[in-house]
């Protein structure tokens, strides 16, 4: 996704979160991913920043001192500001989620979460709002995939993949350089929103490795123990 890197780097993200440990994790991670990040640790500062119109996306915790997250979303939407909002909440009930989204939130992430999950959602929201025309081909180093023809080649050599393997590789490629967890893969590739307790991801990854990495000097697909998988070229 070398081309899309450019549109991500200059983007500003506002994080409104009172838990400083969580806020730090988000700030560091987003900065590492190339974003410009501002942080507010309570609702009133948060809303004044959000209303400034300087941001491309806001991450809002629901339980905040001084002004709660839902009120912030209401105020932003009342002013007609088209700011993508990702809700963070420790409450995971369906009603809570629905209420957050009907108030004008664009996505909802339950605490605790993995940073890679947050990052993937942030990117998806930005992609949606920035109206960037999706490239029909993506590449990383000598790996190229054609989203229309659904073909993959590495170093000019064609690689034959099963549909699920293709989706898996596409997902890894979209999140190149960032770890994606098993749960995220289950959700995006298999549409399973829970961990069914199988080794299907491991099995597919190892098949994929066999097809994509075997015979090449530099492996692209790596396992990060405890977190998930990442597509990158290790230095």
């Amino acid at each position: 996704m070398g081309a899309s890197r450019a549109w991500l780097t200059e983007m500003k993200i506002l994080v409104i979160e009172d838990d400083l440990v969580i806020a730090d994790l988000i700030k560091k991670g987003l900065k590492e991913a190339g974003f410009i990040v501002d942080h507010a640790d309570e609702g009133l500062t948060g809303i004044s920043l959000a209303l400034s119109g300087d941001y491309d996306l806001a991450i809002v915790d629901l339980m905040l001192p001084k002004l709660d997250g839902l009120s912030i979303i209401d105020l932003v939407r009342d002013k007609g500001i088209n700011l993508p909002i990702l809700i963070l909440s420790a409450k995971r009930s369906v009603e809570e989620r629905v209420s957050g989204l009907t108030h004008g939130g664009d996505d909802y992430l339950t605490k605790p979460f993995s940073f890679s999950e947050l990052l993937a959602r942030v990117k998806a929201l930005l992609r949606r709002s920035s109206n960037v025309v999706e490239p029909t081909t993506m590449n990383y180093r000598d790996l190229t995939i054609d989203l229309l023809a659904r073909t993959v080649s590495r170093g000019g050599k064609k690689v034959d993949l099963q549909p699920k393997e293709f989706m898996l590789l596409e997902y890894l490629l979209r999140n190149q350089g960032h770890v994606v967890s098993k749960t995220m893969i289950m959700e995006r590739v298999w549409d399973y929103h829970f961990d069914p307790g199988t080794n299907v991801v491991e099995a597919r990854i190892s098949k994929l490795r066999e097809k994509v990495d075997k015979g090449f000097d530099t492996p692209l697909i790596h396992t990060v123990r405890g977190l998930g998988y990442v597509l990158k070229q290790q230095d």
Binding site: W190, D191, F194, T198, A203, L227
Partner: protein
């Protein structure tokens, strides 16, 4: 605080019932007796009037057929047979001359004969009621013409009626004095008995409230409503007890299951902090901690998911689902795991069958059942999944040749956190089957189970399509 202490004895159920019953009984008895007395009185009155009228008519007949002499004779014998202070007669002609008269000493208040003659208008005998202080009783007096120009006035006190009425009154008083208290006593005893049942239930309730969960109300053998109340109450108490026991066990299980990953996290951190030398040791410790955290999180989420599924959350997101495809996907998902464990996965799915339901919950139900089957089947075993249409529904069977479930555990495998493996050392949190059944039920279906120990277990899911 004992319930019965708060009940004012005057307001108690049995007292009030007795009072109400006694009063009602009294009023009804009084009314019916009054009715009877009035009826008897009027019957006796009518009977006596009739008799007097008949006397006149008989004398008229006697006069017509046997002449005046016979009438005199008859009247004289009548006079002899009656007491003069309770009976009189006067026979006179149209000029007011007295022809025959009884002893009128007690009847001195009678009108002169001439006045009577003026009143006489037609042939009908004239009857009047006389109530005079000179007489002991009310009297009836009849006046009529028994022959041409011959008139008879005849009077009689109603002594007989008054005697009858006196007897009835005495009888009534006796009835009142005996029957009312007796009836009230019986009523009170019965009410007491009835309320004893109620009291028993309420005292049992107080005991249960105070923590004696095993307390039950004694059930009377009468089989009446009170016994039914006690039985229903006992059933409720039993349900509460078992729910509490279940909850207690569940809390224990949750605590155990949560404590295990926490213990591991603690141990990892402790060992690392005191022993670790290089960055790799720390990295590994952090990774292990992450994994344990994820396990904890998954368990908490699963608990909430089961609660939500049981509460029917997700029912609002139902759509037409190709259940055959879901089942195939689920089987594909588990194929690598089965292969790794050396278990044959046999799939026989009838294609393109559709149910109306919640996709994610159904996916999860299927995955749980297959996961469960694989978990308890040893290497070389067979897990078979088939899906078919049957009558108005879809039947999904997940069969394994695993360790089976002991009969004693069969009714409990769907309970939350229940694991046949009592040491709880097996992986998993004991929530999968609870969740699956909750989902099946939220779709109007159910899951049943048959098992032969060390041979096989079959889970059968029934999902109605209508």
């Amino acid at each position: 605080m004992f319930l019965s202490n708060r009940i004012n004895p005057v307001r108690s159920f049995s007292t009030r019932l007795t009072l109400w019953y006694g009063m009602t009984f009294l009023v009804l008895l009084l009314a019916s007796m009054l009715g009877v007395i009035l009826a008897i009185g009027s019957i006796l009155d009518a009977r006596m009037e009739e008799e007097l009228e008949e006397d006149i008519e008989e004398l008229q007949e006697l006069y017509r057929e046997q002449g005046f002499g016979k009438v005199i004779e008859d009247l004289e014998s009548e006079m002899k047979g009656n007491e003069p202070n309770s009976f009189f007669l006067r026979l006179f002609n149209d000029k007011g001359e007295m022809l025959l008269a009884s002893d009128l000493e007690s009847w001195s208040f009678l009108q002169p004969v001439n006045t009577l003659l003026d009143k006489q208008s037609d042939d009908e005998p004239l009857i009047e009621v006389v109530d005079h202080p000179a007489l002991e009783h009310i009297s009836l007096v009849v006046f009529g013409e028994i022959g041409p120009g011959i008139y008879l006035q005849l009077g009689e006190t109603m002594e007989e009626k008054d005697e009858v009425m006196a007897v009835i009154q005495i009888a009534s008083i006796i009835i009142f004095c005996v029957v009312i208290p007796l009836a009230s006593c019986i009523c009170w005893l019965m009410a007491k008995r009835a309320s004893a049942g109620i009291k028993e239930v309420s005292s049992a309730a107080v005991d249960i409230k105070n923590g004696k969960l095993d307390r039950r109300a004694a059930v009377a053998s009468s089989g009446d409503e009170i016994a039914e109340l006690a039985e229903t109450f006992n059933a409720m108490a039993e349900r509460i007890r078992s729910l509490i026991a279940e909850m207690r066990e569940m809390t224990d299980n949750i605590a155990h299951d949560l404590r295990s990953p926490l213990a591991r996290i603690r141990a990892i951190s402790e060992v690392t902090i005191s022993n670790a030398g290089n960055i790799e040791d720390y990295r590994s410790a952090v990774t292990d901690t992450l994994e344990e955290c994820d396990r904890l999180l998954q368990m908490i989420n699963m608990t909430l998911d089961v609660a939500e599924a049981e509460a029917g959350v997700g029912n609002e997101h139902k759509e037409s689902i190709n259940i055959s495809m879901l089942a195939e996907e689920a089987c594909d998902l588990f194929a690598p795991l089965a292969e790794e464990k050396g278990i044959q996965l046999q799939v026989a799915i009838n294609r393109d069958l559709v149910v109306f339901g919640n996709k994610h919950n159904l996916q999860r139900m299927l995955a749980n059942l297959i996961d469960n089957a694989l978990k308890y089947t040893p290497e070389g075993g067979l897990v078979s999944i088939d899906l078919n249409r049957q009558d108005d529904g879809i039947v999904i069977r997940v069969k394994d040749t695993g360790i089976g479930i002991p009969e004693a555990d069969l009714p409990r495998v769907f309970e939350r956190f229940y694991r046949c493996d009592h040491s709880r050392s097996q992986d998993g949190c004991g929530l999968g089957l609870s969740f699956s059944r909750a989902v099946a039920r939220a779709h109007g279906g159910d899951i049943t189970l048959q098992s032969v120990i060390n041979k096989q277990t079959i889970f059968t899911v029934l999902l109605p399509t209508t």
